[in-house]
Assembly symmetry: C2
């Protein structure tokens, strides 16, 4: 095989590692691809790793053991995450986002792949050690952020529906309490084949007010005998202070709206990375 | 500024370019980041470009002009795209995917970020020259593929809903004919602020049978005075042969089901890349 220069290897290797976050690639895979010795590939990895560290581009790490190799994780620094969340807070505080009923218009932001990816990186970084088997969300607005979180963790996304559609096969349906009070009951459905007993679920959604939908997802996981290892949302309202779901982590906080200007009062939460 | 070696630059530059597909980065951005001359950065780009070409990892191209710079596009080769679609066809042909009513269970596949990304790369590659301003899909199952297509094109995703939710503000609602016959009417809603007149829309969905939902999205774009520059789906059924929507491109074809085994008969379409 023709010898491939380090300069050529570094670009290709970086592309392959960063395209599959959290996936372990064996050194042998790169040895075969580049016709190089393991020691050479190890040096390449050290170079990429050092470069990423220097420019705050995430972590390239060697994983020891039989199933070992090298892995990329897009873990943002605290400073970079803080900056992302501050910029997002500013966008969400722009005038014209207040909707009747005290809702905040966020659909343009949540469906932007760049934003969804940046938030997915921050959320995923909190849950690597919990090793979820999948990310669970409830349709619709949370899907882009949940998908990007799942991408960073290299696990599938599972989507709960408002009703069970014909093309999902047999489903588990539950009722849950949505909104304020105890009177507003909604239905959530999840395809029976989507989750297996004993799996670990990470629940991700875009918005939390009372926490009813998130608690609905927690209850749904009980039906499947799956374990919930974390609950993360993009934005939570300050009120009501007591949420139906326990232990949820939020990246942003919505304090309310300025009556005079109609602007939302949004800021990064204090504990988004604790 | 301390001098940064080529080896270090190549990894960082690759990571930045591939993390933002189709976005033009000025050479000046990299000159500042690395404290290097433009000629040096140009040589780096040539190296990354050659490496990507050699290993079929997409295109790194220099864009001329005042707003010029360098850009990454994840354009898969025809062979690689064919292989992706054949592997996907095989997965979808596994037993147990047939649902009552002749539906195919695909939710596990469509919600997998790796698959959604691979399909998004193939779909986006067909529409770079149409320069869509956004990708439009209808909730729910098409969202992951549509999001990844939008990511590859570096444009926002816009999601049409089955009903207009309180948190989306004022919306345009239309009725459209879904399913066979002319009797099954459904409703589609889209936030008024999501689309501006004169914008170019690329419509992406996971599944086409009669094409009614896709034609609904085309009609919705007429309401917004937006232009539809393409319609792409992951999979289309052979029957009915005449679809409500014109000119849709499909990556896969569902011929039907094998009565004896219950397996779906799925294969890549002939013209997925024409």
């Amino acid at each position: 095989m023709e010898k491939i220069k380090r300069n050529e290897r570094l670009g290709a290797m970086t592309r392959i590692l960063t395209d599959t976050p959290n996936r372990v690639h064996s050194l042998g895979e790169f040895c075969t691809m580049f016709g190089a010795a393991k020691s050479t590939i190890s040096e390449d990895i050290d170079l990429v790793s050092a470069s990423f560290k220097r420019f705050g581009l995430g972590e390239v790490e060697t994983v020891a053991g039989a199933a070992g190799g090298v892995r990329y994780r897009a873990i943002p620094s605290r400073e970079r995450a803080q900056k992302t969340l501050e910029e997002l807070s500013e966008r969400l505080s722009q005038p014209g986002r207040m909707l009747p009923g005290g809702f905040l218009y966020t659909s343009d932001v949540t469906a932007e792949s760049t934003t969804a990816q940046a938030l997915g990186e921050i959320l995923a970084a909190q849950y690597y050690d919990r090793q979820p088997h999948f990310v669970l969300t409830m349709e619709t607005k949370g899907i882009p952020i949940a998908l990007m979180t799942a991408r960073m963790l290299d696990v599938p996304l599972v989507i709960a529906r408002r009703d069970s559609r014909a093309y999902e096969g047999s489903a588990v349906k539950i009722n849950y309490i949505a909104g304020g009070g105890n009177t507003h009951i909604e239905t959530m459905a999840l395809a029976r084949r989507a989750v297996s007993a004993g799996q670990r679920a990470l629940i991700i959604d875009d918005f939390m007010k009372g926490g009813g939908t998130l608690q609905g997802m927690v209850d749904m996981m009980k039906e499947f005998q799956a374990e919930v290892v974390g609950v993360g949302v993009m934005i939570t309202t300050v009120e009501p202070k007591v949420k139906r779901v326990e232990g949820a982590r939020s990246l942003l906080v919505l304090e309310g709206f300025d009556d005079a200007t109609g602007r939302a009062i949004v800021h990064p939460s204090d504990n988004f990375m604790d």
